[in-house]
């Protein structure tokens, strides 16, 4: 065993942080694994929940936006238009909520054991990726049903997924850290999730937004993520609105970097206030 020397001082518990984060990677796997196991352990239909929820929302949105409001669908079947957007949106909503509540949910661990606290929200986000993968299978099934074959753009999908992960992580870190200090933020989480569903182009194509408002609309970072998913999955005439994409990417990066910064700043006092 190597003897590493550790110095604990008022302001510099930081030096080993990133090295520690690497050392605790197994804890990270185990926490994610625990959450996946626990999530489906006492449910009667288990994993099927990951399929039923997006499926029902898709049906509702297709009915409301496609059939009643008769919105355009960029030349693809409306269910696929909705489902391709629902994939990243559901991921974001779940990951954001789970990460935001993750510290409070693991309060006991945080006040009794040392580990880099970033592990907790990070593993919460990763768990939600499992749901995305399951829903992704459903999307493949839907596309087969409609006889759609994605073109080369599908290989860019991981990039947009990464974009969604960073977005969920950044916002999740902010809320998680704030939530420890001010419990008011747990009321903000369901609000953001609900409100976001309406202001993001999930039930409709963002192409219906007038061009002069498009950039403003892109201030919602999820617009870029969802457009990216559609662009990669649907192919065909679907065009990517690059300024909006760039704006979304920049915003997400700023949120994520400041999120990590704020989280690190507050991290030291988590055990004292939680």
């Amino acid at each position: 065993m190597q003897t590493d020397e550790l110095i604990i001082e008022a302001d510099s518990t930081e030096r080993h942080y990133w090295k520690d984060l690497w050392r605790y990677r197994e804890l990270f796997y185990f926490l994610a694994w625990r959450d996946v196991l626990v999530r489906y352990k006492q449910t009667a239909i288990g994993i099927a929940w990951a399929l039923i929820r997006p499926l029902l929302i898709t049906v509702a949105f297709v009915f409301v936006f496609g059939k009643l409001a008769k919105l355009p669908s960029d030349g693809v079947p409306y269910p696929i238009l909705v489902f391709a957007a629902l994939l990243p949106w559901q991921f974001f909503a779940n990951a954001f909520a789970e990460a935001g509540n993750s510290l409070i949910a693991n309060a006991n661990m945080i006040s009794k054991v040392y580990f880099p606290r970033l592990v907790v929200p990070a593993s919460a986000v990763i768990v939600c990726l499992v749901d995305v993968l399951i829903s992704g299978v459903l999307l493949i099934g839907l596309m087969l049903w409609y006889g759609m074959v994605p073109d080369w753009r599908i290989v860019t999908l991981p990039l947009f997924l990464a974009h969604a992960v960073v977005a969920a992580m950044g916002t999740g870190l902010w809320i998680a850290a704030l939530n420890v200090q001010y419990r008011d933020f747990r009321y903000i989480i369901p609000f953001v999730v609900q409100f976001g569903l309406y202001v993001s182009p999930v039930g409709f194509s963002s192409a219906i937004v007038p061009d002069q408002w498009r950039l403003l609309y892109s201030l919602n970072p999820m617009v870029g993520v969802i457009d990216g998913f559609r662009w990669a999955i649907l192919g065909g005439e679907n065009h990517l609105y690059w300024p909006g994409m760039a704006l979304s990417l920049a915003l997400v990066l700023v949120i994520a970097i400041t999120g990590v910064w704020y989280f690190r700043k507050m991290e030291k006092s988590f055990a004292d206030v939680i």
Partner: protein, 422 residues
């Protein structure tokens, strides 16, 4: 020997807010308080900002300094709120100090609670992996020790049962088993042995002793002075966030016990120490109905019951008992030769032997007392066979005499007042 832990001028401040009844801050309070302060400032722009009456700083630790050598086993004692847990939390990096500096050499594992991160829905097997990871074990390490952990916890048949169906005893055994198989260079343990049945506690203590014998550094917090004395040669006594005393466990523990009867009970049990040829296993103070008590009155006798385990026949073994006031005044001394006819501890048979010492009524005055006990034997290899030291405390009240608890002096003996015969 190298220094394993060096603590220099360590302090930790907490800010306690009095007003909010809730455990956490709500944003609304921050906002309204901020607005109030701002309004006040507008009304009196030149007034000095007043101290926030709802907040108070509290030093959980203040200027702590000590060094621990590699391989030392150190006990930490003190009343509740003395800062023991805070110290452990800082050493295990759960919370950061306000000022000061700690240098630690070696891998630290801390066990502040048994079963942290256990999930009731998961099976025993799953929880072993999860808990191991939480405590800092690598996957390979857990796999390697898995069987050992299961055997130690005695839960083989229930490995694939969710732990929510475990009895509390099984739960604790499993949780401790995982923690006990950590292999850190420095082990930090909070009072976790207070759980589980007596037999399992014994097993845990044995495990902890092994850890110490393997040359690892152990820091151990406990309220059980018997356990501290057995496990740790050195001891730190914390009081109100400062070090009151540090040194040899025997003297520190005695000083600590003398300091407050409140920390003592009318009963104390001791874990097995097989090195001792005879050992006090249990001492209890009994009232006239035979119930364990800590409060007595002057008009009734106090029975002191001893359970002594004899592991080797000892001709000439005798017991010594002393009563002190909390300030250290030596009030009374007695030994088993006081039995006059024959010393009842002489040459006892191997096994558990029970004795009773009775203090007749109306001897000591009202107040607080502590009892010191030891056993010695001139024919044994080690003259001081067992020195548990201060083991019990009690209070005496004088309810019946006219002066009652106002009576001064050391004794409550009623003198004989009479009219001379005419």
């Amino acid at each position: 020997m190298a220094v394993a832990i060096a603590v220099e001028n360590l302090s930790k401040k907490y800010i306690i807010s009095h007003q909010p009844r809730e455990r956490y801050t709500a944003l609304r309070d921050v906002l309204t308080n901020g607005a109030k302060r701002f309004a006040k400032k507008l009304a009196h722009p030149f007034a000095r900002p007043e101290d926030d009456a709802t907040q108070e700083t509290f030093w959980a630790l203040k200027d702590i300094n000590f060094h621990i050598q590699q391989g030392d086993r150190v006990g930490i004692i003190g009343r509740n709120g003395a800062g023991k847990s805070t110290l452990l939390k800082i050493l295990s990096r759960i919370t950061a100090p306000t000022s000061g500096r700690i240098k630690i050499r070696g891998r630290v594992s801390s066990l502040l609670e048994v079963g942290t991160g256990f999930h009731p829905e998961l099976t025993g097997r799953e929880n072993i992996y999860l808990n191991g990871a939480i405590l800092g074990m690598g996957n390979a390490e857990i796999v390697r020790k898995f069987d050992e952990i299961v055997a130690f916890a005695e839960v083989e048949q229930f490995l694939d049962t969710p732990v929510k169906r475990y009895s509390s005893g099984m739960y604790v055994r499993l949780a401790f088993a995982v923690a006990a198989h950590l292999e850190p260079e420095i082990l930090i343990v909070d009072e976790v042995l207070a759980v589980g049945d007596a037999q399992f506690q014994k097993k845990c203590l044995g495990k902890m002793e092994d850890v110490g014998r393997e040359g690892r550094t152990v820091l151990f917090v406990s309220h059980n002075m018997g356990v501290i004395s057995q496990l740790c040669p050195t001891c730190v006594w914390l009081e109100k966030g400062r070090i009151r005393d540090i040194g040899q466990t025997e003297s520190v523990v005695n000083a600590y016990m003398l300091n407050g009867v409140a920390s003592l009970n009318g009963e104390m049990a001791f874990p097995d120490d097989l090195k001792k040829a005879a050992q006090l296993k249990n001492i209890s103070l009994l009232d006239r109905n035979g119930n364990v008590a800590q409060k007595f009155d002057c008009d009734n006798p106090i029975h002191i019951k001893f359970e002594i385990e004899i592991r080797k026949q000892l001709p000439g073994l005798y017991g010594y008992l002393a009563i002190f006031k909390p300030d250290g005044t030596h009030v009374l001394e007695s030994d088993s030769f006081d039995a006059m006819t024959v010393n009842p501890l002489d040459n006892l048979p191997i096994g558990i032997n029970t004795f009773k010492v009775t203090m007749p009524p109306r001897i000591l005055g009202h107040g607080e007392y502590v009892i010191y006990f030891s056993m010695a034997c001139p024919s044994a290899d080690n003259f001081n066979v067992d020195v548990p030291g201060i083991v019990c405390g009690f209070t005496l009240d004088d309810f019946s005499s006219k002066r009652g608890n106002q009576r001064l002096g050391f004794f409550s003996t009623l003198l004989v007042w009479s009219k001379p015969e005419r």
